[in-house]
Symmetry: C2
């Protein structure tokens, strides 16, 4: 008989006997495997946390006791136990819930998170508020060993240890980040595992935490007594549990990096085989450079696979590849130091994770003018979770002095930019890596501070930045069809400075300028163009995303909403022309 | 006979016998005291590092061996020993050099820094580049215990420990941040001091560093043998030295917080006594609130004094005040957690340090919509060091969705905004705290999403944001005098959203809009206004700082350069009017 059938809330769970919990864990594990295999999702991290999540909900009383999941790559069992089982057992509801915790889904979720290393600080805030209000209850941060390398987690630990009150850090040690862990602290975790938590030199004790070790974190029988013992502790406490990433799924256990995230069924990787991608274009160019020049070095903050740095690449690159772990601040400062001392660093990072190193980009890099290259991946409007959308990097980077920020439209242009960025010794360079590879026969203009006029027309000029250049071309074509006006089409390529000469020249024979950018308009490229023409008669219409968080909204819906289809843009132009008549 | 006279470079220093070094230290200490007493500067931190800096330059060979000073509050002796003695002994040159390391001053300085916790990561980059180039030499990061609480330092340590090569962390433990240290790790440092470095539970060893302890870091005789022993070590190594902050200056030794930074001589604190400041306005309001409501809580990231949180305030606030240490990321996430659980947190932070928590503001706070209040101090154009200028916060914050960002112009408005921000439960609120307190008899419009029209005129509208509102008034007055046009004067108050209704209404009877903002124009307030009017006939002239780093440039010089005087603005308006005729 199925235990899972009867479980729709933590209260239901508590009706089971401890002896029934392993069977329940088995059912949940199989449910997760079946569902993730179809939908895709964080497989390995979730499979490792099944027993611990059951034990937490069995011993503690959520939502009075508050669980804060770090990055929430491991929250599926929690979701399943807190009223969202349909999202895992009923295919009709598989896509109802996000892959991350979300307070809008349940009172058992306290934060919408998707970036790492935040749980301890957030939990410390919950706990301190509890104390100020004179309330009781446990606050439990659940954080994996991979997340532990982020500076925010460390700042949180340092402060949580001083709380002088109840806060519990459940440290889920599966010996892996997405990739293998990087950093000195992991030697200590290994030592703690080897000594079954008894080693005197203990990272957590050095902060002053009470410390408990659970050797098999996938064994409910080992977990329950420890959790019962620390429930309602008046002291900052760490429970270090050792779990198996990918537990119960042979291939995910065997290849824990690949098993971290499963693609949806029907997703045919072979369909992409041989297809050109910016991943392969980039790694091939960099490998050629690294062979010739031992000072070329690639850096990833624990997201090698997302940026195309395959196991094969890493093996070939050898000591010219560094995974700094989840540590974006260090990654940028490290790159600056490398460049200062004559090396040629290339940091590959997603747009939303680079947000974590904003001050390092300003102070450690731009202010110092060191010639590091940063490739920004997963940028622009996307159907991703709100936590992973890359729509803010144009305002984030384009308004910092001392950076050259480039947005290539074509493969040939990207290669030329990357080649130049790595070899020059004057300035930090940011390159926004497009997603779709498009070739162009137009020769690449190698002075990247200049806009490139791809079609000379009159009356209307359309500036399509980076991955939105094709949209400029499509819009221009439609405009010509509808109005017989042949517009000027410009590939601006740079978003850290205006090409004032080109913009000035447009005044002579143009009355409307259209800007298109793949990101929020607010603080971005188009507003600068509008301000440039502010005192002139030029009309400027800027298109891009609204300033808002977009959570798993299909791209086509966003394009419609933000008036980013050629038809909508042409309509706006026609409307503006009428207004100007 | 003076040793100091003969010293103009590290080579000169090496000619002295070890026995002469204490006398040299005495001379340098007196020189620093004399100079800082006149010029102002970081007194306590520099006095504590005299002997260690001498010992470093005596044993190592800069610039081949590279010293990276964290935040560089402690670099004066280094500057004095590396060709910049005139800046300390000759009053004519007292202002030639900045208070921080700066590669433009000397080949012995490798980075321009002024934010904390960066040295280990930057040094790791230098060291890795050295290895890639097949060179030799030592890389030494010099970091204080205060800086150690920053997440970037931790990320750096975690990675430095894995370098498998030479990197030396000189850990200067003076038992103080600017304020007393906060955090669990400091218990471990105390334990290490008590055990003379012998305690088994050792924060640094937990990362895998080789570890050495020097009990009296102000004793050259104790320092030299340890530094000689570790020179050219092939291993990541920590040297923990225990020093006396403010050493040799009685008042700075006695009050190490006050002694951290000395004001210039002639700076008469009593002249400010009784003068109203936003510090006292804020703390008085918050203390009143805290008395009535135990959930109101103030947070500082180790910069209590800068934001007016005096010892008296802290004592009165009790457990409703938290110093999280130098840990801006934690500070923001902590505030979000507090707000989520029903407390009313007010984080007080300088503009340039908030840059360190950009992603936490986006993800941990704004995306979650928790009603925390952040007061941004030291914002706007200033004659400060480039590292401390607060000119980027309007673009940094104004382009993030989910925040209400306010810029009050008047005392009454500020009080009303702060009161509202703390009590409301809907949204995170940012308030840009002005520097000069100006009162206004105009009633405060309490719907802060609306611009306030303070003078209704025609033809030209001047929008002066926050601390630049008085400039709007002055400019308006001058314009009226010169042209007899009475402009509309608007106090916009909010920079996270446009008051489209007011802006739309201006179209009826205005042809020129002027925007004034105290920060870089790029990505800021004015560009949004220009974009709003992009398709209309309205002319928009935006004034603010250029997108550049401004290093100790007098404010008047900046105002002239950026055309921010009323005369320059009126000239630009006249020029625009002629163009429009």
């Amino acid at each position: 008989m199925s235990c899972l059938n009867s479980i729709n809330s933590p209260e239901d769970l508590k009706k089971l006997s401890p002896e029934q919990l392993p069977a329940l864990a088995g059912e949940i594990r199989q449910t997760l495997i079946d569902r993730i295999t179809i939908t895709g999702g964080h497989m390995g991290s979730n499979l490792g946390m099944v027993e611990a999540t059951i034990a937490l909900h069995y011993v503690f009383d959520s939502p009075k006791d508050k669980f804060v999941f770090d990055v929430s790559h491991q929250c599926y069992t929690h979701k399943l136990l807190t009223g969202r089982k349909d999202g895992f057992v009923d295919p009709a509801h598989f896509y109802d819930y996000s892959g991350y915790t979300n307070p809008q889904e349940s009172e058992h979720d306290h934060f919408l998170v998707g970036h790492t290393a935040t749980s301890v600080s957030l939990a410390t805030g919950l706990a301190k508020a509890r104390d100020l209000k004179g309330e009781t209850g446990n606050v439990i941060a659940i954080i994996g060993d991979g997340s532990m390398s982020g500076g925010e987690a460390f700042e949180g630990l340092n402060n949580a240890a001083m709380l002088n009150s109840n806060i519990i850090i459940l440290f889920n040690d599966n010996e892996m980040s997405i990739s293998p862990n990087q950093g000195g602290m992991y030697q200590n975790f290994a030592r703690l595992r080897r000594s079954k938590g008894m080693a005197e030199c203990n990272f957590f004790k050095s902060f002053g935490f009470d410390y408990f070790y659970v050797e098999d974190g996938n064994d409910v029988e080992q977990l329950l007594p420890v959790l019962r013992q620390i429930k309602d502790t008046p002291r900052p406490t760490v429970v270090h549990i050792h779990t198996q990433k990918g537990k119960g799924l042979a291939w995910a256990e065997a290849d824990r990096e690949a098993g971290h995230y499963a693609m949806p069924s029907g997703f045919d990787v072979s369909a992409f085989a041989g297809m050109e991608s910016y991943d392969s274009i980039t790694t091939e160019l960099l490998l050629r450079k690294m062979e010739k020049d031992p000072t070329v070095i690639t850096i990833t903050p624990a997201t090698a696979t997302i940026t195309g740095l395959t196991a094969e690449f890493r093996q070939k690159a050898g000591n010219q590849f560094v995974d700094v772990g989840i540590a974006e601040e260090h990654a940028v400062a490290f790159a600056s130091g490398l460049a200062k001392n004559g090396a040629k660093p290339v940091l590959m990072i997603t747009s939303s994770f680079l947000q974590r190193a904003y001050d390092q980009v300003i102070q450690d890099l731009a202010l110092n003018g060191n010639p590091a290259t940063i490739l920004v991946y997963v940028n622009g409007l996307s159907p991703a979770d709100a936590t992973h959308c890359g729509v803010f990097d144009i305002p984030m980077l384009g308004n910092i002095p001392g950076l050259v920020c480039l947005a290539p439209a074509f493969k040939e242009e990207y290669i030329s930019m990357l080649d130049w960025a790595v070899e020059q010794t004057e300035t930090p360079v940011i390159i926004r890596v497009p997603s779709a590879v498009i070739s162009s026969s137009t020769p690449v203009l190698t002075d990247f501070t200049k806009y490139q006029t791809v079609q000379q027309g009159g009356g209307i000029a359309i500036l399509g930045l980076g991955s939105f250049f094709p949209l400029a071309q499509e819009t221009g074509k439609l405009l010509e069809e509808k109005t017989r006006i042949q517009p000027t089409i410009i590939n601006p390529r740079i978003f850290s400075a205006l090409d004032k000469e080109t913009l000035e020249q447009l005044k002579a024979s143009h009355s409307i300028v259209i800007t298109l950018e793949d990101g929020v308009r607010s603080g971005g490229f188009g507003e600068k163009i509008a301000a440039f023409y502010g005192a002139s008669n030029m009309k400027v219409l800027s298109f891009g995303g609204d300033k808002e968080f977009s959570d798993r909204v299909p791209l086509e819906t966003q394009y419609q909403k933000y008036h980013l289809t050629p038809l909508q843009i042409v309509s706006a132009i026609e409307c503006c022309m009428k207004g100007s008549e």
